[in-house]
Amino acid sequence: MALTLVSSQHSEPAGCSASGCGGNESALAHLPPQIRDKVKDHPCYSEEAHHFYARMHVAVAPACNIQCHYCNRKYDCSNESRPGVVSELLTPEQAVKKVLAVAATIPQMSVLGIAGPGDPLANPERTFATFRELSDKAPDIKLCISTNGLSLPEHVDELCRHNIDHVTITINCLDAAIGAEIYPWIFWKNRRIKGRKAAEILIAQQQLGLEMLAARGVLVKVNSVLIPGVNDHHLEEVSRVVKAKGAFLHNVMPLIAEAEHGTFYGVMGQRGPTPEELQRLQDSCAGEMNMMRHCRQCRADAVGMLGEDRGDEFTLEKIDAMEIDYPAAMQRRAEYQAGIEQQRQQLHRRGETVISLDALRPQRHRSRPLLVAVASSGGGIINQHFGHAREFLVYEATALDVRFIGHRKVDLYCSGSDHCNEEESTLQQTIRALNGCEVLLCSRIGFAPWEALEAAGITPNGEHAMESIETAIAAVYQEMAAAGKLAITAPIALQRGA
């Protein structure tokens, strides 16, 4: 294969191994070992682990203590798949039952999160009742929460008591003037507070919470919603500051705003960022700190591997009908996850011979970067039919390496109910989402979509089905470079932004 060829013709030790260029876990390479260990198996945090491990969220926290302009608490559309929107509210007892049932059925299960539909810390009794039970009954499962930060400082000690070592804080700004355009009100000390003062309090609480968690050695990830014209120029500073305070990852997510969601931004016509704008911002923050680019905006009650929602298998009735031997299930998880670790070790060993395509092309002219979209249902393999893919992994191949860039999700908006805009077919949406990509790798693809993709300048390719993603991309890149398709003088489809 391409990789063996590359390394055998390279006179120097090939690849970048620990220096962190191109490897799957490179984003973690600079972290202290104890932090890297914590992150290693977390499918939401490790770029690599999300191929192998599963997480779930339970919806036990309905109440919220702030309002964001991108959220509408009224919304409960069955087609909804925006973050934080869930249909089935669980009591802590039901939630514990569900988690144990899922963990007995899906041995990859390693993380439980509470992220909504409101704010976990605006519902402290429900959130902590769930965590208490689970630490007791399934101590191998990691716990995490995702919060707006307003009530974080007062709950840090209790969080630490439950040994919860992952916390995500959504921080959209540090500047109260910007905050006043994002948060219309907060509930604080028994009053509703509006405007700039509300933003000031929220920002101060978020920063204090972040500092307190970092001081206690708790992993903190920061999420930011990219809102063009509101905080787009500000997020680089956010990235810098939260890193300085000890956050280990910064994840920039696109604003999703549609009028039919009834949110302030949706109704006022505020647009979300284009995939290119999002990528440009992630690139410009990348120099400052690790950006988590594989984040998919999963439903808060999603079950299963990231991007694969198996919630329907675990409705309350079905759970009640299950008989589960919990200790046996925990044992199975331990064995299964040990197997995963072996598999990952092997991948790493192979990965070390990657990937200096330049070595093959000692000529003077260099080749330009190429964006490749991949349909994969997990495992780091090209194993999904184009027609089944709801989201695509996007990689950037250069003469030096193959780097994971992020996800492009197709079905972010409603489809299939009367009040949703169906003018745009899924195929058209997909093509729009893949803007900037020149190659699409999948296991299979139908004739009609093939033609449509080609017409849009995206070359579909099914020849690498069941191959490892990065190996296949390296091979495709090399082939295109050899054919002169990537010459630096050729028109560059996507100029990476500064």
Binding site: C64, R73, E260, V267
Partner: protein, 92 residues
């Protein structure tokens, strides 16, 4: 006098634990307030707690039957704008 919760409540539970009079309870199709328990928070808080956290406009009425959070007061979306956009969506 007592506050009431009317249709439009999204059953988010935010108000229930805040009520100093334990007057709020979960019900179907939406949360309700025991009229004889509600004190309008008098003597406990300067602002009525349920209406200070409720995220939905128009669903909590005060003793006079007036919405404590009228349309537009929480989202910042002017009612005319909302009506126009919703009409556009309907017309699609």
């Amino acid at each position: 006098m007592a506050f009431t919760i009317i249709s439009g409540c999204v059953n988010c539970w935010a108000c229930e634990p805040l009520c100093p009079s334990h007057a709020i309870y979960a019900a179907i199709p939406h949360f309700r307030i025991h009229a004889n328990l509600c004190s309008e928070c008098d003597g406990d808080y300067s602002d009525p707690q349920c209406a200070s956290i409720c995220p939905v406009e128009g669903v909590i009425l005060n003793g006079e039957g007036v919405a404590v959070n009228p349309l537009g007061s929480l989202t910042g979306i002017a009612p005319e704008r909302m009506a126009k956009v919703m009409a556009e969506i309907q017309a699609r």
